[in-house]
């Protein structure tokens, strides 16, 4: 429980200290335990660095949302899978 909380905290703080590829790796790793972490991490990245006036898309949020959706899909498949029961 505590370890999971520390992992989530590390994923949220990593955009402040590490290059974004490493942040993405941490977020994807935590997605195995907490599917909402990639979306939260992407939101943090865009909250810190995204400039709407440049006309770009908020890639962090979009990519994080996609990773979260995939994580939920994988978790739902694992839960309903009857193999191994």
């Amino acid at each position: 429980m505590i370890a999971r909380g520390l992992g989530v905290g590390a994923a949220l703080l990593s955009p402040l200290f590490f290059p974004w590829p490493f942040v993405a790796l941490v977020a994807l790793g935590m997605a195995l335990f907490e599917p909402l972490v990639p979306l939260a991490t992407g939101l943090c990245i865009d909250a810190l660095y995204y400039v709407p006036q440049t006309g770009w898309l908020p890639i962090g949020t979009i990519a994080g949302g996609a990773a979260t959706m995939v994580a939920f899909l994988v978790r739902s498949r694992l839960k309903t899978d009857s193999i191994g029961e």
Binding site: R4, G5, V8, A11, L12, P15, L16, F17, F18, P19, W20, P21, E34, P35, L36, V37, L39, A40, T41, L43, C44, I45, D46, A47, L48, Y49, Y50, V51, P52, Q53, T54, G55, W56, I59, G60
Partner: protein, 275 residues
């Protein structure tokens, strides 16, 4: 007799009902709301964290360098020091030539507008959008459209958003940004396109004879060096070659930029008043 255990119920949602992921999402939404509604206060609170991040990166580089060959590092330092001294002498000589020509032609000289020095709070690679967040805003006189210069006077970007105390600078290497420039000793006109990660790309005619190491210039005023050719990609079926240009300024470690209104605007860049 079998006892029925009734779980303690609470009218409020218990903490156990909320996952760590939901906490994380709530925290991220809170940060996003603070950043977009009160950007100055948010970045003022985060500025020390950004500085700590830069310090930590510098320490980590020092640790990794400690494992390098010390003798090789000493030799490299000596070479770099000699090159620095030679460049300083050359720069002084060129400046003298400029001053002489300016006085000879009777021109008033290129009067540089007042530059605003701004410390860089956030930069790539932590920032994936190829922008700088600098700790200078309207209070210091920063205006949208000002050009940002790195150490040595190399242009790095344009101020694209300003708030009271902070500004955002879109780098020339940002995706979607196009800038006019010149390449090589023959000053061949080119259009520089941002490719992200501090890299610019340009298509040049094959007969321009561009080679790795050729300097690249942008207007601002006159011709200012923005970088040099790092790679040349040639497709035999195309009359053009694609060159990759690395910025003259190390965008990953720059700490201070000078902001100056030069009137130079890239071909495509969006600007606004709000950060």
């Amino acid at each position: 007799m079998k006892k029925t255990f009734l779980a303690k119920r609470n009218t409020l949602l218990t903490v156990r009902g909320i996952s760590w992921g939901m906490f994380a999402l709530a925290a991220a939404l809170l940060l996003a709301g603070a950043r977009f509604f009160v950007p100055d206060a948010t970045f003022s609170l985060l500025a020390p964290v950004f500085r700590a991040s830069d310090s930590a990166a510098a320490v980590s580089r020092g640790v990794s360098n400690a494992f390098a060959d010390s003798a090789a590092r000493v030799r490299q330092n000596e070479i770099l020091a000699n090159e620095k001294d030679a460049l300083a002498v050359e720069n002084a000589a060129l400046q003298k030539q400029v001053d002489s020509l300016t006085s000879l032609l009777g021109a008033s000289g290129a009067q540089k507008s007042v530059a605003i020095l701004a410390s860089v709070a956030a930069h790539p690679p932590e920032n994936p959008y190829d922008t700088f967040l600098v700790a200078a805003g309207k209070q210091e006189g920063v205006m949208i459209g000002m050009e940002a210069f790195g150490p040595g006077g190399a242009p790095v970007g344009i101020v694209s958003a300003v708030s009271a105390s902070f500004s955002s600078i879109t780098l020339f290497s940002a995706p979607g940004v196009q800038t006019r420039g010149w390449i090589g000793d023959k000053n061949v006109p080119i259009t520089l396109s941002g490719a992200g990660g501090g890299v610019l790309r340009a298509a040049v005619a094959r007969d321009a004879a561009v080679a790795v190491g050729d300097p690249v210039f942008v207007p601002g005023p006159g011709m200012l060096p923005i970088g040099k050719v790092a790679r040349v990609e040639s497709d035999p079926s195309s009359p053009n070659i694609t060159v990759s240009i690395v910025s003259a300024t190390n965008l990953f470690s720059v700490s201070i930029v000078a902001l100056r209104m030069t009137g130079i605007v890239p071909m495509t860049i969006a600007t606004s008043t709000a950060l």
